[in-house]
């Protein structure tokens, strides 16, 4: 599948998918989106790049073996979930309690509400990306 057409298409489509994933991630805590769905999108973009360029090129680019990377992503995601969930316990509030901050209006993005849950969501994103990528590399072997 590593034809010029696929590679050109992937070069255009993959950044679009990444941007969509980012938007879904940022609005995730109070609207449609979230860590899980943006992780799925990210993995689909990476899968597209794998198909277009082959796994070896990307591995060389990142200078790390995919299985190590995936495992690190997965574990750091889990730890991030535990830590962000447990911070309220130290402040004598129930597990997973969140706080939020309303940012002043920004150009293009408008008013943004940033909540503590976004860090938790980042943990979900890492965990899902790591596990889906390891499934992908397991199946593609």
């Amino acid at each position: 599948m590593t034809t010029l057409i696929t590679q050109t298409a992937a070069r255009i489509v993959a950044p679009l998918i990444f941007v969509t994933a980012a938007i879904l991630f940022i609005q995730g805590h109070n609207s449609i989106g979230g860590g899980f769905i943006s992780a799925v999108l990210i993995v689909s973009a990476i899968a597209l790049l794998y198909i277009a360029y082959g796994t070896s090129d990307l591995t060389r680019l990142l200078n790390i073996s995919p299985s190590t990377l995936n495992r690190r992503l997965l574990v750091s995601g889990l730890l991030l979930i535990i830590i962000t969930g447990s911070v309220p316990i130290l402040l004598n509030m129930p597990f997973l309690t969140q706080a939020f901050l309303i940012l002043p209006p920004l150009p293009f993005l408008g008013e943004l509400k940033i909540s503590g849950a976004i860090l938790f969501d980042l943990g979900v994103l890492f965990t899902v990306t790591g596990s889906l990528l390891s499934i992908l590399s397991g199946v593609s072997r």
């Binding site: 574990v75 535990i82 447990s86 316990i89 004598n92 129930p94 597990f95 969140q98």
Partner: protein
């Protein structure tokens, strides 16, 4: 949201966090096996300690924990009561035993891979399922537990395991889909997913505009799903396939932990949530009557079918799997009477809880024994064995005590379960001769059958001449100590039954205490 200034007790969420943290850390420490094992053991000890301390602190009443500080019917509640914690306590003990056994028997490369992490994730799922007070959340925890068990069943990825794994995964996915449908239906008809709120609304169906026939339909779908998960006849066919293919420590966990999660959910939903709505029957039939009658038939069929099938098995794992079907019948049979006759509800729950604890411990010990035999001799077929009692006495003593605890021989723990079963039909008011005599008949036939398969296992495998395959092999002693732990536990629970009976009694009381449950969750804060 606003946070109350009052001091929050975090103890109900502690076991969950310990299990999750241990699972994540054991995934991280891949370089050194020693580190993984010590982390895993440390995590298990902390988990057991947190469960036991929680078990004693809920004796005075359930502890409720609201995640994210959202109040009760809207946020997700965790309800730690003495019923859930007694079952969790046994799950923790069985998992700890299995873990210690696995350290010396599972290949080092496989242990490095993800074995410990998966065990802790399974414990994590079971903890969530037993503590949650929310119907949809229960489904999610079920899936967490099952997801890890899929991987563990197919752990060595042999062709036999892959085949069994396929059956197991497909059946559970179908079961999960039906569970989700019925949860969605219950939410659509009652407008709530919180178990306490559900119970509260079912007590006034007219006020909340609930159509009881729909609730009845969806509750029956839930019942079928739980029957599938706990392997009752005619939904038992996956049990022998999976138990025989899975690695022995995993079979021990499946029967000691995963099956018990399904049993817990059935008791929690049908005895804590639904009874409050039972005062408004639909014609002659109420939810609990239908539940009771169908459960009576299914569990009676399981006792007889499982017992007869176990008699003709040559493979130890198969025999144990069929015995598991029969024992699940024994565990469920008192529940059917409890559903039909409210006056003996607590007594029946006591019998169920004793039998559940007994089955978890005894089956764990038996499956681990079968694992020892398979590892050393290379075969679990009774025809290849013989004379094991002279060859490896510790193993044989454990098997003897465990299998006869399942039969119910005094002074072993299982005897008290059978005793409570037997006095049950005599206490129905007014005495229901049809149910009582059927009940006693099934009980007697089932016990005779379990006695016969126990004798079959013992005579062919452990007595008699030492066969050549047995005499050529040695079973490492360090693997057998953990069996001795389970055996001693069964005997001491039997001998010292008086000291544990208050715990069992309070567990049975909190399992059927709908109003206490509602009060604790909805009016706590």
């Amino acid at each position: 949201m606003s946070t109350s200034a009052s001091i929050v007790s975090h103890s109900p969420v502690l076991p969950l966090l310990i299990a999750l943290l241990t699972a994540s850390l054991t995934l991280l420490s891949r370089r050194s096996l020693k580190l993984t094992i010590s982390l895993s053991l440390l995590g298990t000890c902390a988990y057991v300690a947190s469960i036991i301390s929680l078990l004693f602190s809920v004796q005075s009443g359930p502890l409720v924990y609201q995640f994210s500080a959202w109040p009760a019917p809207y946020g997700i509640s965790f309800v730690a009561d003495s019923f859930a914690l007694l079952l969790l306590c046994i799950a923790a003990i069985v998992t700890a035993g299995v873990l210690v056994y696995s350290i010396t028997t599972v290949d080092e490369s496989k242990q490095k891979f993800s074995y410990h992490s998966l065990l802790h994730f399974m414990l994590f799922g079971a903890t969530g399922a037993l503590l949650t007070g929310d119907l949809f959340n229960l489904f999610v925890w079920f899936e967490v537990t099952l997801m890890t068990s899929y991987v563990l069943v197919t752990f060595y990825s042999t062709s036999k395991q892959t085949k069994a794994g396929m059956t197991y995964v497909i059946l559970n996915l179908i079961g999960g889909a039906f569970m989700l449908i019925s949860i969605g239906g219950i939410y659509a008809t009652t407008g709530t997913l919180n178990l306490a709120d559900l119970s509260h609304r079912l007590s006034q169906p007219d006020l909340y505009n609930i159509s009881m026939p729909s609730v009845m339909l969806f509750s029956m779908i839930l019942f079928v799903v739980f029957a599938l998960k706990s392997g009752l006849v005619p939904l038992h066919f996956w049990v022998p396939i999976v138990y025989q293919a899975a690695p022995s420590p995993i079979s021990a966990l499946l029967s000691g932990v995963v099956k018990k999660v399904g049993l817990y959910a059935m008791i929690r939903i049908f005895f804590t949530v639904f009874p409050s709505g039972d005062s408004t029957p639909l014609g002659e039939l109420s939810i609990l009557t239908i539940f009771g009658i169908s459960l009576f038939i299914l569990s009676a069929a399981s006792i007889i079918f499982g017992g007869i099938s176990a008699l003709s098995q040559d493979n130890i794992d198969n025999l144990l799997a069929y015995s598991s079907i029969s024992q699940m019948g024994f565990i469920m049979l008192p529940l059917s009477l409890a559903a039909l006759f409210p006056s003996i509800r607590q007594m029946a729950l006591i019998a169920t809880i004793i039998l559940t604890l007994n089955h978890s411990l005894a089956k764990a010990s038996l499956f681990l024994a079968s694992g020892c035999i398979k590892n050393a001799i290379g075969s679990a077929n009774l025809s290849d064995l013989g004379g094991l009692s002279r060859h490896s006495p510790i193993l044989s003593i454990s098997v003897f005590v465990s299998i006869f605890s399942l039969v119910g021989i005094p002074p072993i723990f299982g005897f008290f379960g059978k005793l409570h079963l037997l006095i049950l039909p005599l206490n129905t008011e007014p005495i229901q001769t049809m149910y009582s005599s059927l009940f006693i008949l099934i009980l007697l036939v089932g016990t005779v059958l379990s006695f016969l398969y126990a004798i079959h296992l013992w005579n062919t495998g452990f007595w008699g001449e030492i066969s050549s395959t047995v005499s050529d092999s040695t079973i490492p002693v360090q693997n057998q100590y953990i069996l001795l732990f389970f055996t001693l536990m069964l005997i001491s629970l039997g001998v010292g039954f008086e000291s544990i009976s208050p715990l069992i009694e309070s567990a049975s009381r909190s399992a059927i205490d709908s109003s206490g449950y509602i009060e604790a969750v909805l009016y706590h804060r």
